[in-house]
């Protein structure tokens, strides 16, 4: 399986990543998730965001999630890109792409990786509101709950 993990400040090119995921001649399905920065959260207008991470552990954590997905479904390629540093509303934050022979595996693995990335990978968001105040974003209970479905048998 082809695997690519990148933590970067730079933006990413979804079209290029898609082509990279579909390189295998056996690939019939590519599923992609792109997380985008909204200008609104928890009732406030957000004008900027700073994304901090734990270098080294972040990559290990994401690679471990990908490995678990690859044990569970038959995958041909996985790419995970996560941006760090300063971001503005509308910016692409995260990319999870999965290539597989069939769409069911590609869909399930993409959502699985995204769900675990949200709850395991060491990233932290700090938002700046329109009034200049800054706050660290709180973890959401719904992201922990999202993991529940993956613990039951398929």
């Amino acid at each position: 399986m082809q695997r690519r993990v990148s933590i970067q400040e730079a933006d990413f090119d979804v079209g290029k990543e898609c082509r990279g995921l579909a390189k295998s001649s056996r690939c019939g399905a590519v599923t992609q998730f792109v997380g985008v920065m909204r200008d609104y959260n928890e009732g406030d207008d957000i004008v900027a965001m700073e994304l901090e991470h734990y270098p080294g552990m972040t990559e290990r954590s994401i690679e471990s999630i990908i490995d678990r997905a690859a044990q569970r479904w038959s995958l041909l390629s996985v790419t995970v890109i996560h941006r760090v540093g300063a971001l503005l509303p509308g910016a692409q934050i995260v990319f999870v792409g999965v290539g597989a022979m069939h769409r069911q595996a590609a869909f399930a693995a993409c959502e699985f990786i995204m769900d675990f990335l949200k709850s395991e990978a060491p990233f932290w968001k700090k938002e700046r509101r329109a009034d200049g105040a800054e706050r660290w974003v709180d973890a959401r209970a719904s992201d922990t709950q999202a993991l529940d479905r993956w613990s039951s048998d398929d």
Binding site: G35, L51, E52, H53, Y54, G56, M57, R60, S61, H82, I93, V94, M114, L117, K118, S119, E120, A121, P122, F123, W124, K125, K126, W136, V137, D138, A139, D143
Partner: protein, 83 residues
């Protein structure tokens, strides 16, 4: 000696991102927290004893009774909010 890292809100609250800590022998994550609190004081207790504080030893999530030994990298951080 071990290296202790703090991230995000905890880094700001303690004003420390990285520090070297002398340990006399292997100790648990719980013991390490107590040692840091006795050296650091109330702010450190607030951060390290918070219910949802996470700890990684050598970049792997660790539990309260996991062991920390000489040369380890230990990190304390709040629940993650990436993606």
């Amino acid at each position: 000696m071990i290296t202790v890292l703090f991230f995000a809100k905890y880094r700001e609250q303690l004003g420390v991102s990285c520090m070297d800590v002398q340990i006399t022998s292997a100790l648990t994550v719980s013991d390490l927290k107590q040692q840091l609190i006795s050296d650091g004081g109330a702010d450190w207790a607030t951060v390290l004893l918070a219910e949802n504080t996470l700890c990684a030893v050598n970049q792997t999530l660790a539990k309260a009774d996991d062991l920390v030994t000489d040369g380890d990298e230990v990190a304390f951080y709040p629940p993650v909010t990436g993606g």
